[in-house]
């Protein structure tokens, strides 16, 4: 198996070099897509199936679509950028900096302490209290719930940042260009067939997350991708960002999370603490509330800033 690992590592490094060195931005993006998919395999080799699922959903789906769209729109700016390549001195300095960083990290990797410090024992000892079977979910929503709450809020801020880049005249309008469906086209066909399956799979990945690898991020990503598929196929239009239901949906998840956090401060003595015996129902309530918000925020972030008025 070590030979397989060595081959996989070599392939990933080769693709990383391709992403950096490729001539055109589009070639680099295509390499990055392959790179992300291969990272999924690495996560499996490192026994992080939850991480592999996240990488498969985000790296394989959302990031790829985002970067492909950007590379296609920025294609005509590439020729101008080629004349801006920095001089030889900068190249040499950058190479030296890169070698220094790599060497320092490599020394760090080779001298990691043995036995490795680990919180696995603590997680195992306290997981039973939460009644959740998947230790990752336990960490995300009980032991380190603050991180997850802040992450949900960071995502909202990032979306506000994306929206704020809209020109004034289309503020509150719809993101992305108007798409026209070809009723007999293959794209319209797949946008009708795939989303029902995708929603079932997304809900399934979300639901098994309590006890097996999976969870709200991965499920929400899949559902967001399905929504975007119907938008790209022209079967439905992207909503204007001024819609009330949209705004409410975006903040509902984090608000429920915060409300349960304050309720914990009253009933269990600390912000985001759960009263004994209610941990699992509260965790599921948070996940259920958070998932639609996450799906909305991820899809809208990919759709980008508004480009046209709502009418």
């Amino acid at each position: 198996m070590i030979a397989l690992d060595a081959g996989l590592a070599a392939l990933i490094v080769a693709l990383g070099v391709w992403v950096i060195r490729a001539r055109s931005a589009f070639a680099a993006v295509a390499g990055f897509l392959a790179y992300g998919l291969l990272l999924t395999l690495v996560w499996v080799r490192l026994h992080g199936v939850d991480v592999a699922l996240t990488e498969a959903a985000i790296g394989g789906g959302l990031t790829g679509a985002l970067l492909i769209g950007a590379a296609a729109r920025l294609r005509e700016t590439e020729a101008a950028a080629r004349s801006e390549r920095p001089g030889r001195i900068v190249h040499v300095a950058a190479a030296l900096a890169a070698i220094a960083v790599t060497a320092a990290l490599a020394v760090g990797v080779l001298t990691l302490p043995v036995p490795a410090p680990s919180l696995a024992q603590e997680v195992a000892a306290n997981l039973a209290v939460t009644e959740v079977g998947n230790p990752i979910t336990g960490v995300l929503l009980a032991f380190r719930a603050m991180d997850t709450l802040l992450e949900a809020i960071v995502l909202l801020f990032a979306l506000i940042g994306v929206w704020s880049l809209a020109p004034d005249r289309v503020w509150g309008g719809r993101p992305g260009p108007q798409q026209y469906a070809d009723p007999n086209g293959i794209l319209a066909y797949v946008a009708r067939v795939l989303p029902p399956i995708g929603i079932v799979v997304g809900m399934y990945i979300f639901w098994v997350g309590a006890d097996h690898p999976g969870g709200k991020f991965q499920g929400a990503t899949i559902i967001a991708a399905m929504w975007l598929l119907t938008i790209m196929a022209g079967l439905t239009d992207a909503p204007p960002i001024s819609r009330t239901w949209l705004r409410v949906g975006l903040v509902a998840g984090p608000l429920v999370f915060i409300a349960i956090g304050f309720a914990g401060a009253v009933t269990a003595g600390a912000f985001l603490a759960y009263p004994v015996g209610y941990a699992k129902p509260l965790i599921i309530a948070i996940e259920l509330a958070l998932m639609p918000s996450l799906a909305l925020v991820l899809a809208l972030m990919l759709a980008g800033a508004p480009q046209r008025t709502a009418s």
Partner: protein, 96 residues
């Protein structure tokens, strides 16, 4: 048996790597987008073989996610490169 499955996984991965070298070099962008499709099929096969070799049942869910999103990059590519024909649409919206 685990050795055989691991070796088969490595073999499929090698085939994928060779194919990647070919299509990433182009010449067209369409060839390059095929990289995602290649990984969608070959990568899933290697992943499932790896999962079977290490007896990890949850791998099926990872493969399911990859399979579901396999066409996503190709669709985004087609939509992004076809976009210039439809640039007239926002202007029409504004006049209305």
């Amino acid at each position: 048996m685990a050795e055989f499955l691991g070796a088969a996984s490595g073999f499929v991965l090698l085939m994928v790597a060779l194919g990647l070298i070919r299509i990433l070099r182009g010449p067209g962008d369409a060839d390059r987008v095929m990289a995602a499709q290649l990984l969608g099929t070959g990568g899933i096969a290697a992943l499932l073989l790896l999962g079977a070799a290490t007896a990890e049942p949850a791998i099926a869910d990872v493969a399911l996610t990859l399979a579901l999103l396999a066409a996503f990059a190709a669709i985004a590519f087609v939509k992004a490169t076809a976009a210039p024909d439809q640039d007239a649409a926002p202007a029409a919206d504004d006049r209305a």
